[in-house]
């Protein structure tokens, strides 16, 4: 095999796999970013519930994080995809937010499933970060008459993020990889699935799985650079 065949493999259009990989790369980013954003929201809710005075809320949150962390991720994603998404649909219909017969499109159902799993880990990261913010600084904000929202946005959140960034960064890295799990739910044409198709069609397993690996690596390397920049930014003022 000579070099120019590989270049042809990665060509754009019908003959090559370049465009497929490009869109697979984008799809992986799209799934990861959506799932991550949703996981942050789940995580905040679960953390708030865990730290609340209400026993029922605490119980719900602890059950959620415990169950999710106990089961294999892929199993959890399957369960959520086929059951919880359906329940959520019914709930949304009942609450009147959407019309009868509403169904998540499979993309969002898959994103929801991934986020549901990541959210449980996120909750742990955020809880530890929240507890690392000294109570005294919250009291001094309360004492000058700041509202709860101001205290959260201006005192708790910025300092919490400093403690959360390493953990949140790790979760981002793992969600970019876990996004490949959705391949079991159907054809979403993300990176792994694209690699699999290209390898199967050409029998060039090593080459195409290699390309897939390099692209995942690329996401990770860029992510690490961004995370480090954020850490430096948030650590200003700390010895």
């Amino acid at each position: 095999m000579v070099i120019h065949t590989y270049i042809e493999y990665m060509g754009w259009g019908a003959g090559g796999w370049g465009d497929e990989f490009f869109f697979g790369f984008l799809m992986t980013l799209k799934i990861s970013l959506s799932a991550y954003a949703l996981a942050v929201i789940f995580g905040f809710f679960a953390t708030t519930a865990k730290l609340s005075k209400n026993i029922f809320l605490r119980f719900m949150a602890v059950s959620y994080t415990t169950v999710v962390r106990a089961l294999p991720e892929i199993l959890m994603v399957l369960i959520v995809y086929f059951t919880v998404a359906g329940l959520a649909e019914t709930a949304l219909v009942k609450a009147g937010f959407v019309d009868k017969g509403f169904q998540f499109n499979p993309f969002w159902a898959a994103v929801f499933a991934l986020a549901f799993v990541a959210g449980a880990f996120m909750a742990e990261v955020l809880r530890a970060a929240r507890l690392a913010v000294p109570e005294g600084q919250i009291e001094s904000a309360t004492a000058i008459g700041m509202s709860s929202l101001q205290i959260f946005m201006r005192v708790i959140l910025p300092q919490m993020m400093r403690h959360a960034i390493p953990g949140m960064g790790n979760l981002w890295l793992s969600i970019t990889k876990d996004s490949a799990i959705v391949a079991v739910l159907g054809a979403f044409s993300e990176l792994l699935y694209t690699g699999y198709r290209a390898a199967a069609a050409t029998k060039e397993y090593v080459f195409f799985y290699g390309v897939t690996a390099v692209l995942f690596l690329l996401i990770t390397l860029i992510s690490i650079a961004v995370i480090q920049w954020m850490e430096r930014h948030l650590n200003r003022g700390y010895a």
Partner: protein, 254 residues
């Protein structure tokens, strides 16, 4: 007769079975400096914290400049503020200085000082900075305006905390042992600032173990024991002639 800046009526507070405050009342008139002394665990901090509702009392009443903080009895039996908006306004008028400074670690000296004026009093940032400059000068921290709290000594941090409280132009300043977390050689720089405030006739309530300072600047001294005001009066008088054995013992320790 000057106006009543702070009026505290019948504050009671229990932690579980332990009744820490058994009905405390006192008034601070404008310009009064009231020092609260008492042994460890006598409820001094709890009293200060009940005044600005960092801690919820079981019963009692607090009024700032004649305005009563509206409360109702909550289900858990504690006194709950009824009007969040009013509570925030009242807190803004009670400048609290904590034993451990409690500066916001992610904000510089200047940012710490202008936070309240900008966010709570809604002053324009320009005005807040101009006001902060005067205060930083006053507490001698101007050179450190762009430093973060972790880059300051304890004494410097406490002076920033005092400036931060003053920036709210409070009716009353509440100090909870402002010097007891400091290394001995740093106590004096903070004492200087407090002394200065007293000569300016600021209304202050100060929990302290600095007997010399209390005697020097207070207009009134309150000795707290077992959740009650055991003795009170002009500082010279009651320090030289303590009536109760408790106070005699307490003073004897210094």
């Amino acid at each position: 007769m000057t106006a009543t800046a702070l009026s505290v009526r019948n504050i009671r507070k229990s932690f579980g079975e332990d009744e820490v405050l058994k009905g405390i009342s006192f008034d601070a008139h404008s310009g009064d400096v009231i020092s609260i002394i008492g042994s460890s665990g006598s409820g001094k901090s709890t009293l200060l914290r009940c005044i600005n509702f960092l801690e919820r009392a079981d019963s009692g009443e607090v009024a700032v400049a004649g305005e009563i903080i509206k409360t109702h009895k909550a289900k858990d039996g504690q006194l709950s503020p009824s009007d969040k908006h009013q509570l925030k306004q009242m807190r803004a008028r009670l400048g609290m200085v904590f034993q451990n400074f409690n500066l916001w670690a992610h904000r510089t000296v200047l940012e710490n000082i202008i936070e309240g004026p900008v966010q709570v009093l809604k002053h324009p940032k320009k005005k807040a900075v101009a006001d902060a400059e005067i205060l930083m000068d006053k507490v001698g921290i101007s050179q450190k305006r762009n430093h973060y709290p972790s880059q300051l000594s304890g004494g410097q941090q406490q002076r920033v905390a005092i400036a931060r409280a003053l920036a709210m132009q409070p009716t009353v300043m509440l100090f909870d042992e402002p010097t007891s977390a400091l290394d001995p050689e740093l106590v004096n720089e903070v004492v200087q600032v407090i002394r200065q405030l007293a000569t300016e006739k600021r209304t202050m309530i100060m929990v302290t173990h600095e007997m010399a300072l209390a005697r020097e600047i207070s207009t009134h001294l309150i000795f707290l024991h077992n959740g009650r005001i055991e003795e009170q009066g002009p500082p010279q008088l009651i320090m030289e002639n303590p009536k109760s054995d408790r106070l005699r013992q307490f003073i004897g320790k210094f």
